[in-house]
Symmetry: D2
Subunit: 335 residues, 4 copies
């Protein structure tokens, strides 16, 4: 019998992507949970309706039968809905960011709001399966990682773990994202005429995704420079990461570190030294692709990490997490 | 001594373009008139301020000294501001659409609102200089044409006037516009992710620019099919116009009709038969470029008309009209 | 046991799309047939090879075992390869255009080259399943339709068949295509800087896809005006089709004609009157979406037809045809 | 009397931009010098010819009368043409890169070709007026800087000169460019479908523009990491530069260093701390815009430097250099 899963925020970009991915999943039946913040539906062809739309209330009969719910919403909506869903025995996979940090102080600093579910903040498992798979298994609340931190953590952690980074020089992450990362709510900054033929930096040195990288990599804030930048395209994140290497003979040794770490991982792919992924390589896939360059004489190292921000950076990774908590094969509907 | 001109709506796309064009005009001094609907300013480099910002009220001392004002606003704002400006002896060039039609009934039908300045509606001169230059000279209120009708009228009127169109078959205008034509106010329809890699038709057979074409060409509504479509680009309008020809020996004869009509016009350019302008040819210029194909055996005729919607379709034509009413050379700062 | 299928031209845009679609097909095993005109491969992640690459010669052992071959090549390459493949008992699905017209005279007129396989030209079945399904079943050579004609024929034929078009007024098809329709071979016309922020008409009244529409719709050449235009986007075709209606009470009646015709068709979707598909609606799908507007008083009718030129306009329809000739369910891997 | 200037490579993107800028210059008359490598002309409207086309040979009478020639060509063409032009007393402004480095060894290392004009390599003045104005004055051969190095040098040199960079940590320049920087010759890498909705790194740690930055800033190669990346847009370069600061109290102090250095410069603009230019701010202008962020506690510094690669990065700076060598006001036709 199929598992039943609900999506809150199903007209947003991550929500639409969840529907697209889950439509191929043989083990789940999808329900769209209409929430007051949803936008108007697009015109649709006659007779080609999508999944059924149901209420977004844990009291509703249809909601009570769900096995899991995706929250593709704003953090405050997530904090409102999560306690009731968990109390009803429904697994929650939260894409809002509400549960990504570990303390209410840190949350307030970076999200500029009070956190009103401190116990859930402690309980939530950070759903980066490549590092947290065991903890996710059995969890009832998964905090789906941010898009920028997914690409950054998958690239940085193996280097730190292998001890090949001169931490005194810090690590620099120059990140570029497509516009869908900003969500579907209209704003001047994401209007077509402001973005096309343009490129801009924002949240320089103070982006709210920074603490997710520090938390997972063990880097000190003072040793990590992060710049977010807006690409004139729909989807994709590419991060160019700079470090000073040590104990590294050449670029091939760097490639080997990544290959060793990700050999068994279905969603991380490594390129030969001196070749790099572009956004097309990962578009509409759940892959994180990594390529490196390294100059042994000077220790200058460069890592390029690419994902689709709506897939591995949001909906795809959320389904990967759902597959874990609902005990499907982890790659189901994602390859 | 320089003439003084004001711009209301100076942070909108037409307003920014007015500033850009007028910054090269040797005969005018520009003032930006802050209106309550204006959006927040962009960051600007230190010490590189633009023109002075003044109040938007005819009682303000600085406003009283203006020679002309551009209204790059919504129609209701234009209707509010125009009477006072005219009473103060200031010429008004209106880009809002408030005065483009001839009757309040027609206005209500197409703009879905009451017109509260019926006398001004009668008085306003339709500012398509290639056809209305004489009337504009001396006028105190110029209604700057819509972007779509500018490209359409310049292409269609010479054919009607020359008697080479079989009107019983009607004329079809398949129009495509860049996104800046929709203005700078954020909306879902003009969000980057909704527009990029997309193309869509809207207001099919009922666009509010239709009556401007009928009014100027003498076409019956039943004989004119117009489709507006949104291109994934910033600026430019290209219209592909189809008609059934008569009394036309070949495509060269069609070219000759246009050449004869526009020989002395500085802003209309004609292409050799079988070659066509693209949007790049007119981008950031005040030109309307026209190319044709014609099959004499069947009478199938195609005309391609291209403009930059923010220049010949808005700010450029508005400056052309200002040059006329303030008695500058008509091409000043526009070539 | 899986059927074996080969792809010639697997690094072109249609070829890459064939690989993508067939990677989900449970019934086939894919082989890439290296041909001398292929471009260099892109960098790929370590250990993530695609399907095996084999020679492109009917003498090669691996080729001899194939059940079907897709020719995503230029017409002259298709004419070279087809006879040998057919002689070896291999079904051929040709995407090149070599076999779309019915006579060598017509081929020469529109393709400006001699056809050297006149017998195959007669034998080939035009693979538009919605109209030719029965003939395709059992055929050994399928000519996959052109991208523009697919969108045009699906929209136009039901109107002609229903007798609601005043043919004396002709039909006009204003067509817009993404750049991938021009293939992957570099050229100035498809260079990024020439296309972005641009839009242009080409092959006005003389595009080689015109005879495919005439042939299928029964329209006279003199009654059909077709303009091809290049959109600044990767993939998608949208055609705006104009006609003069007769015997039609209103737009809903027009919708009913399409619904009746396509009720049982899995890949044609119809919109409610006055609502229209955009390119996003069909992107990366095998759907053809159709929307209409109609003014009964004047008989002005507008039909918008949208497809993804690489899917329903090329690789998707080719797989649909493969499903027919290899006796898989027609929708396999396409929904 | 007007000075006469010629342009070789006038159909390339820098050449077209030179024509556009010089068309407003009151002091020069432009001649287009047809060279065998030029591409076919675009269709043009009847009667709107551009500047006259002349031969590209120093023996031609019209060439002999020129005062200056712009070489917007490949380096080998520049090396062929320069000696003859100089011998005829014609000033040369070279945009090809042929004379940017100081030694034939360095040229061979980075350009992978022999340099056959070693004397001219020594003589050429590097035309970055903000640092080399005095030397350019009176020079007969100007080497116009590369696009990436222009943005990098204007941002980096003031920091080095002010002694606020901890050089032991190195400087990182993460550079992004629009596609026009690659020139107009068609190639797969610059084809529309390969670039749109894509972003990619290239020439990581080994781009040929690196030595231009080292040469001008005094940085050691081992202390400078440079990554070039391709943006899906036509024109613009934005570089995000990372350094470890010393002797800097806060971001405002960093802004002051730039303001002090560029106070009198017409083409470099500085932003308030924490605000940054985007590409729109400099598009179609000769400005280099600079914004900074700085965290005094950790010394993490970020500088954003933006130019239009075809203007300040090519044609605009070339005209700035022409204004210097032909003794026009340096800003003529550039503001």
């Amino acid at each position: 019998m199929k598992k039943k899963v609900g999506i809150v925020g199903f007209r947003g970009y991550s929500g639409v992507e969840l529907i697209r991915i889950l439509s191929r999943h043989p083990g789940v039946e999808v329900f769209l949970m209409e929430h007051r913040q949803d936008v108007a539906p697009d015109p649709a062809p006659i007779g080609h309706d999508g999944p059924p739309v149901i209420a977004c209330s844990v009291e509703a009969a249809q909601v009570a039968t769900l096995d899991a719910v995706f929250l593709a919403t704003h953090p405050d909506v997530s904090m409102d809905l999560t306690p009731g869903l968990l109390a009803a025995g429904i697994k929650v996979i939260d894409l809002s960011g509400a549960y990504r940090l570990r303390t209410v102080e840190n949350y307030k600093r970076w999200y500029k709001e009070e956190h009103n579910q401190p116990e859930l903040l402690k309980e939530a498992v950070y759903g980066l399966p490549e590092f947290n798979r065991a903890a996710a298994n059995g969890a009832r609340l998964i905090s789906n990682p941010g898009c920028y931190p997914t690409a950054a953590n998958l690239a940085i952690r193996p280097l730190i773990d292998a001890g090949v980074v001169d931490l005194s020089a810090g690590i620099i992450c120059d990140a570029k994202s497509g516009v869908s990362g900003a969500g579907r709510k209209p704003s001047l900054k994401t209007s077509f005429c402001e973005v096309t033929e343009n490129f801009s930096a924002y949240s320089v040195l103070n982006h709210r995704h920074v603490p997710e990288v520090l938390m997972n990599s063990g880097l000190e804030e003072n040793a990590f420079s992060f710049t977010a930048q807006l690409l004139p395209l729909d989807r994709g994140i590419l991060e160019t990461i700079y470090f000073r290497g040590k104990n590294l003979s050449n670029a091939a040794a760097l490639v080997d570190i990544y290959l060793a770490r990700y050999l068994a991982e279905p969603f991380v792919r490594i390129y030969a030294a001196g070749t790099f992924p572009d956004l097309r390589a990962v578009s509409r896939t759940n892959f994180c692709d990594i390529g490196v360059a390294y100059d042994a004489a000077s220790g200058r190292g460069v890592v390029v990490s690419a994902i689709d921000n709506l897939v591995k950076g949001a909906a795809g990774q959320a389904v990967q997490n759902m597959n874990i908590v609902l005990e499907f094969p982890e790659t189901e509907s994602l390859l």
